[in-house]
Amino acid sequence: MRKFVAIICAAMVLAACGTTVPLSDVPVTDASPKVISGTDANATGAGIKGNGVAPVDLGAGATQANAPSEARIVYFDYDSFVIKPEFQSVIAAHARFVKAQPARKVAIEGHTDETGGREYNLALGQKRAEAVRDALSLLGVSQTQMEAVSFGKEKPAMAGNDEAAFSKNRRAEIRYQ
């Protein structure tokens, strides 16, 4: 028990480091393309509408210094959404922690390996996130405290296209907000 508390405390410290930089308001600029009128020509003179694109910049990357703590990550087998027995204790520890703090919000973020399409992987990652959410719910955590979301294959934990990387990327991360 004391070990679980230690794990959770460590996870909390790391999660606190992982806050993202708030996004600044999107600047709205009027860069409407000017329509150029055509000149008379020997044939069918015509102008060409410009194709202006107004750039929007959401700022630089957040400094994600936090290495993911093993204690808040649930790994999955290939093409699977089943929580393996070795992760039940991690989920139980988080459930106790969240239930003790009713104001606390938790995001469960599902991820996949890089095989396959982006949108389909987003749906697969959602299934993993919802599996962890439902396991927490079975242990008494309120749905209003949890949100299951997916990153699909967009944010791998480990680069590479071999099974060593894939097995680290098929995961759901429990992240406190």
Partner: protein, 424 residues
């Protein structure tokens, strides 16, 4: 309108020919290609420009797969000259375009051209444009569109735009580029991923999924003003936006009621309406060109396959039957073809299905194809793939015989979506 009655039945012996162009690597494979032999003279006055108008026109025409470029030394001809046809006939050209670029007093450029039918000695008309230097490429694409339409009878797509996404370390960018991949302009830069851009039917907006708020959220983004609107930001994941042909409805995938499920939203706002309800993954919706059906991906049969449902949610039919992983459907504007990605022996390959009879063929040699999208005239596909271990964008004719790698940004490049026809 078919102008020529004798098309060149070329490339019979050219089982594998590669032509390297200034902007592209264009690969022509296969036998029995029917291509129109054509030549475009250097536009008089273009030597003073960075953008060689005739080179852009030639690269456009070649990439379309409909033309074979003939090299003929033409001297200094322009749109005011009638070309000497005998020499052109001997060189094997069926058509020639001649033109000029003149700098105007206000700093703009006057581009003029005329197209000739060499076989019949006929003047096929011409056009002129007055443009700023930043629109010179667009003017060249308009020239190529004119040539394409006069000689094939189909509308050209060279003056259309393609959206795509690049990823560099900590930086994801959504770009809007010309159909040849050039002239890319950044529409959005974000520290978090951007996926699934989709052009509105009027070509003014892009809907896409952005992870900037640490979850997938759907936005619609006016590309000329930069103004963005939240389309779907419900609890859970919001993804896979697809516009209806009239631009009034977006189909999206939401997990707000549990699982990835399909919903319809008015683009003007309001509550999402559930399209269908299932215990499986339903995602990647795309409207048929008549707006009456929605194609989508579902694992309801145990593996991801493509299905079709009426927009009222009735009559679900399975569309793909071969293989155990079929995703990312795209439908051609004439409703005849469905492009999609199928896993074959561990490789993800672009496939094309004739919807009339369900016949299927793979059209690439690559093994990591993603995100196919049709050109608005339905004659070309753009898709993402991997070449030498790097992400790349390619175009292909529907028969797979003419492919081109699009020039783009450095780094990983993905998620192409081909915009609608240019509207003057």
């Amino acid at each position: 309108m078919r102008v020529f009655n004798h098309f060149f039945l070329g490339a019979l012996l050219a089982l594998f020919a590669q032509v390297s162009f200034a902007q592209f690597r264009i690969e022509v494979t296969g036998v029995g290609l029917t291509q129109i032999p054509v030549t475009v003279a250097p536009f008089r006055g273009q030597d003073a420009l960075n953008q060689k108008i005739s080179d852009i026109v030639l690269a456009d025409l070649e990439r379309s797969g409909q033309f074979r470029l003939i090299k003929v030394p033409l001297g200094s001809l322009d749109e005011t000259t009638k070309p000497e046809l005998t020499g052109l006939r001997q060189a094997g050209a069926d058509a020639v375009a001649l033109g000029s670029v003149t700098k105007l007093a206000d700093g703009r450029f006057d581009i003029r051209f005329r197209l000739w039918d060499v076989v019949n000695g006929q003047d096929l008309g011409g056009q002129s444009f007055a443009v700023t230097s930043s629109d010179l490429r667009m003017a060249a694409h308009r020239v190529a569109d004119y040539v394409y339409e006069k000689l094939t009878g189909d509308k050209g797509v060279f003056s259309t735009r393609i959206a795509y996404v690049t990823k560099a370390t900590q930086r994801h960018q959504l770009w809007v580029a010309d159909a040849d991949g050039e002239n890319a302009q950044s529409a959005l830069a974000s520290p978090e991923p951007i996926i699934s851009p989709a052009w509105s039917p009027d070509g003014n907006q892009l809907a896409y999924v952005s992870f900037e708020s640490r979850k997938p959220v759907v936005y619609a983004h006016n590309v000329s003003t930069g103004k963005r609107r939240l389309i779907a930001n419900f609890k859970g994941s919001n993804s896979a936006p697809a516009w209806s042909p009239d631009g009034k409805t977006l189909a999206v995938t939401l997990s707000r009621d549990g699982g990835s499920q399909l919903y319809l939203l008015n683009t003007s706002g309001g509550e999402p309406r559930r399209l269908i309800q299932s215990n499986s993954i339903d995602t990647e919706p795309v409207f048929s060109p008549d707006g009456q059906n929605i194609y989508f991906v579902s694992d309801r049969g145990g593996s991801p396959q493509i299905y079709r449902v009426a927009v009222n949610g009735q009559g679900i039919e399975r569309v793909t039957f071969t293989g155990t992983y079929n995703i990312s459907p795209a439908i051609s504007s004439d409703g005849r073809w469905m492009a999609y990605i199928s896993r074959v022996g561990g490789a993800f390959k672009l496939h094309l299905m004739a919807l009339a009879d369900g016949s299927v063929k793979a059209i690439t040699d690559t093994t990591a194809d993603e995100s196919p999208s049709f050109s608005p005239n339905g004659k070309l596909l753009v898709f993402a793939t991997q070449l030498q271990g790097r992400e790349a964008l390619m175009t292909s004719t529907l028969d797979g015989k003419v492919k081109a790698r699009l020039n783009g940004q450095s780094g990983d490049i993905r998620e192409p979506d081909w915009g609608p026809f240019y509207k003057p």
